[in-house]
Assembly symmetry: C2
């Protein structure tokens, strides 16, 4: 049997969310999307821990599309000794490679088509890595050039980071992630991919 628990603010918070007990991951939360949204992940961890304590799940499923969120929650679970298995769920994509997102409704048909270059640029990095390039700067420069030549996307960040701590890597290994955020028109899009041989 499937059960949906869809609590309102009143169930989760006893007072204004900003006045209640805050859960905060202080290092990775400030990187990547945290640079432009410094309070965002504080809200995520504060509500997810409440949800975990209310539901007491054995397993919790988080999409890899929000990769930074996934890694921060895994760290929270480890740090706080929660007996919960965090199960990552692979990114679902449109046929052209665009990662599925609730934000895609803001894209015009033309933009949706143009946005395919994001996935193509991630694939370009993977291909170059498979062919032997391990210099992070070279890989990123190629991916950014590709992206900027083929589209009007404004890049927020395009990085290769260590899977576990989201630190920038200089020499890419197979425990890394290519991770992108940028704007197409007014719509902020994020995407990422594992680097594997």
């Amino acid at each position: 049997m499937d059960i949906v628990f869809e609590p309102t603010n009143d169930t989760i918070y006893f007072e204004e969310p900003d006045s209640g007990t805050i859960i905060y991951e202080p290092t990775m939360s400030q990187k990547l999307c945290g640079v432009t949204r410094p309070e965002h992940f504080k809200g995520v961890t504060s509500i997810v821990l409440r949800l975990f304590n209310l539901v007491q799940p054995n397993r919790a499923y988080f999409g890899e599309k929000d990769y930074q969120q996934l890694v921060i929650i895994k760290k929270m679970v480890r740090d706080l000794f929660l007996d919960i298995e965090i199960v990552p769920c692979p990114i679902e994509r449109e046929p052209n490679g665009l990662a599925l997102s609730s934000r895609n409704v803001y894209l015009s048909a033309t933009e949706k088509s143009a946005a395919a270059v994001i996935y193509q640029s991630l694939q370009l990095v993977k291909t170059m890595f498979t062919e032997g390039e391990t210099d992070s700067n070279v890989l990123i420069d190629n991916a950014c050039s590709f992206l900027l030549n083929k589209s009007r996307i404004k890049i927020d960040y395009f990085k290769i980071v260590d899977n576990n701590n989201l630190e920038d890597v200089l020499h890419v290994h197979s425990n890394c992630r290519i991770i992108f955020a940028g704007f197409l028109g007014k719509t902020r899009l994020i995407d990422n991919a594992p680097i594997t041989k």
Copy 2:
């Protein structure tokens, strides 16, 4: 059977405590002792939640001597839906009224004797309240004068606060606490008492 769990830093923290997930109560933590020690209660809640999750107790006992800590932990337990009963333990005192504290070893015999005025000043407030005085300013002014006349104690704060949120009260009711912090020589002492009729 009694069991003591006495973990080291290595058990509680996977990395430097400041890099791990932080638990933070944002309102009461900044009052009273939080004014001079703004990071203190962040450390308390961060380690106590880890302890709770490791031990998974039905009940946890906290002394009323650290009254602010007790109230903040009760709020954390409520906010995070922890199924733990927080049991307050009354303050233990020397025969002269001085609240027992690990810090009392820093007091000379003369200072220990002088420190009795702290408890006497708390009692003074209770007596005046019982006799009908409910103006917080009047009560506190009398207690501070008493304390300063009878000792060389330097007052950090001396307040009457609401039991549940540690907000200053103007008109004292019987859900309040008299709460003191100050220095005798180099030793910081804290004490408090409930206000009851």
